[in-house]
C-alpha cells in the first residue's frame, strides 16, 4: 500500500493579511505557515488507512521554495514516512502545481493520491482534479466520507460521499484514484513528542518541479473595502422593535 498526500504550506488562518510593496502578494513578514487545514484531513486519512492495513507507506509531496521543508516536517511528525519537495521559486498557478505533482506521482506505484479540497490561501480548488486528469485517474472531490473495499491496492473499489449543495452525492470508483478531502472526513491528530523526534530523522528529498509555463498571471492583490462600523440599536429585548424597523425601512432586507 502506497499513498501520496499532497501538502501545501499556507499562512495560518488567523493571519491578518497585509499586502507586499509590489501590490501583488501577501507580505510574508511575520506570517506563520501551517499545513493547509484540508490537507491535514487528507494526511489523517492516509495515516488511518496505513494503520488499518498494518503496513504501507505514506509519502508527502509538496511544491515550493526550500523554506516549505519546515512545515512539511510537521506532516512527518504526524506520521508520514517520507517527503518530496519539488523545488520552485515564486508562486505557481494551479495548473503548474498540478503538472509538477503529476510528473512526480506518475508511475511510482501509488494506490491512492490524497489532497485537500482547496488551499485556504488562494482558495482555487483546482489541483486535485487537474492531477487526476493529467494522470488519467478517477477523482472524487469534497469528500466527507471514504470507504475502500478490502486492501488499498490497484483494482479495489472505493466509495465516497461528496458534499454538494444541500445534500450528499455518493460516488464509486476504482483505485488508483485521487481523493480531495473535506472537513468532517476525520479528526486530524496532533504530532506526539515521539513523532516530532522521529520526524527529524526522516528524509525530505528535494528535486526541481517540472511545472511548465504559467497559464495565469497575478495582476494585483488588494484588501477588501472596509465595512463602515454600524451602530448599536440598543440593549436587551427592548431594542428588538427598533431593529425590525431599521431592517425594514433603512436596510430593506426584511
Amino acid at each position: 500500500m502506497k499513498i501520496a498526500v499532497c501538502l501545501k504550506p499556507v499562512p495560518a488562518t488567523d493571519t491578518r493579511v497585509k499586502i507586499d510593496a509590489a501590490g501583488k502578494r501577501l507580505d510574508p513578514a511575520g506570517v506563520s505557515m501551517v499545513i493547509n487545514p484540508y490537507d491535514e484531513f487528507a494526511l489523517e486519512e492516509a495515516l488511518k488507512l496505513k494503520e488499518a492495513a498494518g503496513s504501507g507507506e505514506v509519502v508527502l509531496v509538496t511544491v515550493g521554495p526550500p523554506s516549505f521543508a519546515a512545515t512539511i516536517r510537521n506532516g512527518l511528525a504526524m506520521g508520514a514516512d517520507s517527503a518530496v519537495l519539488l523545488g520552485a521559486e515564486g508562486e505557481l498557478d494551479s495548473l503548474q502545481v498540478a503538472r509538477a505533482l503529476a510528473a512526480e506521482l506518475k508511475d511510482k506505484g501509488y494506490d491512492l493520491i490524497l489532497c485537500g479540497k482547496q488551499a485556504v490561501d488562494d482558495d482555487a480548488s483546482q489541483v486535485a482534479p487537474m492531477i487526476a486528469e493529467l494522470l488519467g485517474l478517477p477523482c472524487a472531490t469534497v469528500v466527507a466520507q471514504l470507504t475502500i473495499e478490502g486492501a488499498v491496492a490497484p483494482g479495489a473499489t472505493a466509495h465516497a460521499h461528496r458534499e454538494i449543495e444541500g445534500g450528499i452525492e455518493e460516488v464509486s470508483f476504482t483505485l488508483p484514484a485521487v481523493v480531495a478531502a473535506q472537513k468532517g472526513l476525520n479528526e486530524p491528530r496532533y504530532p506526539s513528542l515521539k513523532g516530532i523526534m522521529a520526524a527529524k530523522k526522516k528524509t525530505v528529498e528535494e528535486r526541481p518541479a517540472q511545472a511548465g509555463e504559467p497559464a495565469l498571471e497575478v495582476i494585483g492583490l488588494t484588501l477588501p473595502p472596509a465595512r463602515s462600523s454600524g451602530r448599536i440599536v440598543g440593549e436587551g429585548v427592548g431594542a428588538v422593535e427598533e431593529l425590525v424597523r431599521v431592517l425594514r425601512e433603512e436596510a430593506k432586507v426584511i
Binding site: I168, E170, A215, L223, V233
Partner: protein, 324 residues
C-alpha cells in the same frame, strides 16, 4: 471569439446561477469580447429542452450533449462534452458556476485544454481588450486580480454575485446536438441524498442566521432555527461550535468553512474571530446579537443589539412573524 457557458442542470431543470453566467457572457461579448455566446448542456436525452431559456439571458445558441449516463453528474463525460464545445466554437473563454459541480468539472477541462482557470470570481472585466478576473482569496481577507496567459481562458463565477440580466427577454436559443467522443466513466454517481424542499444551501441563501459559542450548547440552537425559519433563511455556525460537535461541519461559515454573501446575516453569540469575519463580511447587511459590547463582530455589523440572546432572539422571531 466565442464564449462557451456551461449550463448546470438537475433532472433537466437548469440552475439559475448558470443563467447568471450566460448573462455575464453576453455582457462581456457586447463590451468588446465579441463572438457568439453558446450555452452548453450535458444531460440525459430528452432533458435538453430547458437550454432554450438561455436565449433570454443572451445566448445565441444552445448545444446539447446527451447520453443516458448524463442523468447524473459524470465528470469525464461532461469534460469531454465541454472540450468538444470549445473546439467546435473555437471559444476563447469558458464560464461555469462555482458550485460543487463547476468546481469539480472546470479544473478537469482546464487541464485538458491547458487553460488558465480563475476560480470563484466575483467580477470579470475587459482592460485594454484583455480579460481580468477579480476573485476573493484568503476566504475574502484579500481580493486578487488575475490575467490569462493561455489561449483559452476559463472562469467559475461565484453564485448570486453576477446579475441575472435578461438581455434578450422573451428570446429562446435554438437548441442543437453537440457531437462528442464518448469516454469510459472512471467514477459513477450511485445515489444523491438531497435535502429537497429544505432551506437553501448557505452559499445560495438570501438570509443566514448563525449561532456561536454564546448559545452555550447544541440544545439551544432551536432559537436560531426558529429565527431562520421566520426570515426564510438558512442556519449557519461558527467554527467553535462545529469543532465542538454542536452543528454539522456543512454549517460552518468562515475560513475552513463556507464563504457567504447573503442579503442579511444575523450573528448570534458569535464574537467574530478573524476566520469567521473573513467568510461573511461581504454580506449586504450584518446584524449582531451578543452580550459582550466589545465583541469584534460589532465592528463590522451594520446593526447590533447588546444583551442576552435567549431573550432577544425569540422576541425578534416573534416580531418577524408578525410582519407576515
Amino acid at each position: 471569439m466565442a464564449i462557451v457557458v456551461f449550463l448546470e442542470q438537475r433532472e433537466g431543470e437548469i440552475k439559475k446561477t448558470s443563467f447568471e453566467a450566460v448573462a455575464e457572457a453576453r455582457r462581456l461579448a457586447d463590451a468588446g469580447l465579441g463572438g457568439d455566446v453558446i450555452a452548453v448542456i450535458a444531460c440525459a436525452p430528452g432533458q435538453e429542452g430547458g437550454a432554450a431559456q438561455a436565449g433570454a439571458y443572451g445566448a445565441d445558441q444552445a448545444w446539447a450533449a446527451t447520453s443516458p449516463a448524463f442523468a447524473s453528474y459524470q465528470p469525464e463525460g461532461y469534460a469531454a462534452a465541454l472540450v468538444a464545445a470549445q473546439q467546435k466554437a473555437q471559444a476563447g473563454l469558458i464560464l461555469l458556476t462555482a458550485g460543487a459541480l463547476g468546481k469539480d468539472l472546470a479544473p478537469r477541462v482546464a487541464a485538458k485544454l491547458s487553460a488558465g482557470l480563475a476560480s470563484d470570481c466575483a467580477q470579470l472585466d475587459l482592460k485594454d481588450g484583455r480579460l481580468v478576473a477579480t476573485r476573493p482569496v484568503y476566504a475574502g481577507k484579500a481580493i486578487q486580480q488575475v490575467g490569462f496567459r493561455s489561449q483559452v481562458a476559463m472562469a467559475t463565477l461565484r453564485p448570486k454575485v453576477f446579475p441575472l440580466t435578461e438581455h434578450r427577454a422573451g428570446n429562446s436559443a435554438p437548441v442543437s446536438v453537440l457531437e462528442f467522443s464518448p469516454v469510459e466513466p472512471k467514477l459513477t454517481v450511485t445515489k444523491i441524498s438531497a435535502a429537497t424542499g429544505g432551506p437553501a444551501d448557505l452559499t445560495e441563501a438570501d438570509v443566514i442566521v448563525s449561532g456561536g459559542r454564546g448559545l452555550k450548547g447544541p440544545e439551544h440552537f432551536g432559537i436560531i432555527e426558529d429565527l431562520a425559519k421566520a426570515l426564510g433563511g438558512t442556519v449557519g455556525a461558527s467554527r467553535a461550535v462545529v469543532d465542538a460537535g454542536w452543528r454539522p461541519h456543512g454549517d460552518q461559515v468562515g475560513q475552513t468553512g463556507k464563504t457567504v454573501s447573503p442579503k442579511l446575516y444575523v450573528a448570534v453569540g458569535i464574537s467574530g474571530a478573524i476566520q469567521h469575519l473573513a467568510g461573511m463580511s461581504s454580506s449586504r447587511c450584518i446584524v449582531a446579537i451578543n452580550k459582550d459590547a466589545d465583541a469584534p463582530i460589532f465592528k463590522i455589523a451594520d446593526y447590533g443589539i447588546v444583551g442576552d440572546a435567549f431573550e432577544i432572539v425569540p422576541a425578534l422571531t416573534e416580531a418577524v412573524r408578525k410582519l407576515h
